[in-house]
């Protein structure tokens, strides 16, 4: 069943997909008959977490099915549909449509642009195969034109560049230019802004928006980021496990969600204002699925989810109660003095000074390349190339972890960004989590196992995970295990490096929840490194904004967010997508 609030007869739809089903070669159905309509000049956002089948649905519109998938059934009609059902078109005709009438903007331009072809040529190729423009000269004109449209330089020199000579944002805009080159009527955008920093994201989104409007192109925007949806989409379709569980106008879906999943999803999205109580929700995908999806969509079990209980207040929203000020005079837990690090003449870190008090959580905000990860690794002793000093409880730490005392090592723990790489696939969770204990001299196997079990309980994994291998765990579970490894030795400072960036929002929410609980229960200090400013109010009392190796803004989270001092911070705040 599909909920559909639009009636497509009123407007001439640009694309109309009905009951599209896709199976794997193995015969497992992963898309259970989705239907939607795209209107010229309007953008439909297809939202869902990983594995919800949104990309499959998107590609199905182009009659393309990735390896391991069988050809889909159902109907996809373009415009007036005189072309017939795309899913049944012979290859030749299909090819005629692709890139011409319906075009695609890939998720990762770095992979999707041919690294050994000049970008100009790649765009021209599209035009050539679709015989747009009689001569190469005309085509070259079109290329310069479309490059300009997406706001790139369009001089011949630029066109002669190779993809690797462009920044991520530029690459993505080339991708978009390629998609618009033949003036298509439909365009499928597959998470085009993931991996771009907020500022660039904003630019790209704007480009898409206006191009779609100007050329009356119908857009299918595939994303997991509800905030982005709010920015760009006219309609939203929420997908879960191969079904569209909710479909409607953007405002309606975002602000008056019908389906419980949508609600939980929304609840999980961190917001800058920090109004929403992220983390009260259970994680959805991967971990404990809410509802068992039947072949015919999800019964809309609108059971009431536990709503905000105001009793439990966020740390940071009430500075008074935090140990932050009470411990003001005592020596800080961590103090960085003029921390600098440079590779060759390239300064990665440039005179970092800050201190972190016991029980306090600080967010280290910065975009890729700002040096935030380097900084956190210096603190953890993983990077010993720095100058300046790091003090723990007043005494200076040796640079490298190997030269630090095992006590110091115990006190500072570090959680890595990717849970898929931070656990040895060949060792059981118990083994991995046990390592820190082993190294701090706890050789009694039994005792070790007990402690490990404790830690696993803290992160809500429990005994049954002990002897599993990472391969059998979901991303969230792995990240919990990784956290457990950091906790097992009862550290006084936990350094978290982008630990939620690889996870779905709902999982992220549960992890945030976990961290917060730990912090409040164990009065543990935390250095939370992220690029996602929206998380600020949800995790930290203090906020340090890092740009090009310098701390440009620093203070309590509220202060910084409410009146940012530095232009960079202001720009960030201006660009961060949000819906309220």
């Amino acid at each position: 069943m599909t909920t559909n609030t639009m009636d497509h007869d009123s407007v001439a739809s640009a694309l109309c997909a009905t009951d599209v089903r896709v199976q794997t070669d193995a015969g497992v159905e992963i898309l259970h008959g989705v239907s939607f309509t795209l209107q010229p000049g309007r953008i439909l956002a297809l939202v869902g977490e990983s594995g919800s089948g949104k990309t499959t649905a998107g590609l199905a519109c182009m009659g393309h099915f990735r390896q391991g998938l069988a050809k889909g059934t159902g109907t996809v009609h373009l415009g007036d549909g005189e072309m017939g059902n795309i899913l049944e078109l012979p290859a030749a005709q299909l090819r005629g449509l692709r890139g011409k009438t319906i075009s695609y903007v890939p998720q990762d331009p770095a992979l999707s642009l041919n690294p050994s072809m000049r970008i100009g040529e790649q765009i021209t190729e599209t035009l050539r195969v679709h015989r747009v423009g009689a001569t190469d000269a005309e085509r070259r004109l079109r290329v310069t034109e479309v490059l300009a449209e997406v706001g790139l330089a369009n001089d011949p020199a630029y066109q002669r560049r190779y993809p690797h000579q462009l920044s991520g944002g530029q690459q993505q805009r080339v991708g978009i230019a390629m998609a618009f080159a033949c003036r298509p009527s439909v365009i499928v955008l597959d998470e085009p802004t993931t991996g771009l920093d907020v500022t660039t994201q904003a630019v790209v989104l704007r480009t898409i928006d206006e191009l779609a409007a100007r050329h009356q192109v119908a857009g299918l925007y595939i994303t997991h980021d509800l905030a982005v949806v709010a920015e760009i989409a006219d309609e939203v379709a929420v997908m879960l496990e191969g079904d569209i569980v909710e479909h409607g106008a953007t405002d309606q879906v975002l602000f008056a969600p019908q389906h419980s999943y949508t609600r939980r999803l929304l609840a999980a999205v961190p917001d800058l204002a920090g109004k929403r109580r992220v983390g009260q929700v259970e994680a959805i995908t991967g971990e404990q699925p809410l509802i068992v999806p039947g072949p015919h969509g999800i019964p809309d079990s609108t059971s009431t989810t536990p709503l905000v209980d105001d009793a439990k207040l966020l740390p940071g929203t009430m500075p008074r109660t935090t140990p932050a000020d009470t411990a003001a005079e005592t020596t800080p837990l961590l103090r960085l003095r003029d921390l600098s690090l440079s590779y060759g003449q390239h300064k990665v870190l440039d005179g970092i000074d800050f201190q972190l008090r016991e029980g306090e959580s600080m967010m280290l905000l910065g975009e890729s390349g700002s040096g935030k990860t380097t900084l956190s690794r210096c603190v953890a002793g993983l990077n010993d190339a720095y100058t300046g000093s790091i003090e723990l409880f007043g005494e200076q730490l040796a640079t490298g972890t190997r030269s630090r005392s095992s006590e110091d090592r115990r006190r500072i723990q570090y959680v890595f960004q990717s849970p898929f790489s931070s656990l040895n696939p060949r060792r059981t969770i118990a083994e991995s989590v046990g390592v820190p204990l082993q190294m701090s001299g706890i050789n009694d196997k039994h005792r070790r196992r007990m402690l490990v079990l404790e830690a696993l309980d803290q992160v809500r994994l429990g005994e049954r995970f002990m002897d599993r291998r990472p391969g059998d765990l979901s991303g969230g579970e792995r990240q919990r295990a990784a956290i457990a490894r950091a906790l097992v030795n009862a550290p006084s400072l936990l350094v978290c490096d982008e630990i939620t960036s690889a996870l779905d929002v709902s999982v992220q929410a549960s992890i945030l929840d976990l961290l917060r609980t730990l912090q409040t229960d164990h009065n543990m200090s935390m250095l939370f490194v992220t690029h996602n400013i929206a998380l600020a109010r949800h995790i930290s009392q203090r906020l340090a904004v890092l740009q090009k190796g310098k701390i440009v803004d620093f203070g309590t989270t509220d202060d910084v967010l409410n009146n940012p001092q530095h232009s960079y911070t202001q720009e960030l705040l201006a660009n961060v997508p949000a819906f309220d």
Partner: protein, 319 residues
Amino acid sequence: MIAKMITKRLLVSLVILFVVSLLVFVATLLLPGDPAQAILGQQATPERLEALREQMNLNDPVWVRYFTWIGGLFTGNLGYSAASGGPVTALLSDRIQASLVLMGLAALISIPVGIVVGTFSALKRGRAFDHAATGTTLVLASLPEFVIGIGLVALFSTSVFKILPSVTMAPPGEAVWNYPVQLVLPTITLVLVVTPYIVRMMRGTMLEVMNSGFVEMARLKGVPERQVVLRHAVPHALAPVAQVIAIQLAWMAGGVVVIEFLFRYPGIGQALVDAVNNRDVQVVQAISILIAAAYIVVNLLADLVGILTNPKLRTEKAS
């Protein structure tokens, strides 16, 4: 930038060559038996032995001999064959030609065949052709060269059909390629040894590339399949395959020894075996160095191909 990389590669290669030359020289020093004796045979009188030793300056200190030799390498003078007394270069020149002809032929056949077959079985993945190709290459790849050779001989010249000569027998003084029919079996053997690796590599990389993002993109741009393959996929597969081809060519430099021995092919391979038996130190040294040099050069070329085909490196400055 790129110039720097290349010069660096070159220098490294030179150093390696130098060390190899040391190795070879020392090794040949250790060869038991007295070369002079070896040449003159048992009838030799002490006087003649001494005379010859002097002439071959076997009496000089080792390092002097090394430097006279290494110096000779650069002046293209590989010394004098102990066995013939003639210059090694003269002795080897046509043998080198012969070997080059053999290897060249093999390469000429196996490279295109390998690439084409590999590409096709990648495109026809899972179909009969693919299975046939992978199966055959797997079997061939596992057979030692002389097994393949003897197999062919038994098949084509002795036991089953008797249509091809099993040994190369150019009347002395005549070039081998005047008797093409005698080249058939050695060449086929080499080809059968070398091609499978190329096929397998080509297939592997093609499969990878065909799954890559930019090939999918090209398809979604509506680029016709054959253009997708020829313009987007194949060029990318070639770079890694070039490496394998280089390795195979390099392998030939050494592996040809067995095959030449098997088919009595008058190339450097046989020359090497003879020389080792004659204690013809100069020749052994010359051939080992030659083969090593060939090996190094081929690898160098492969590296250069790698560098030059990689826009990332080529345009280092630009970015």
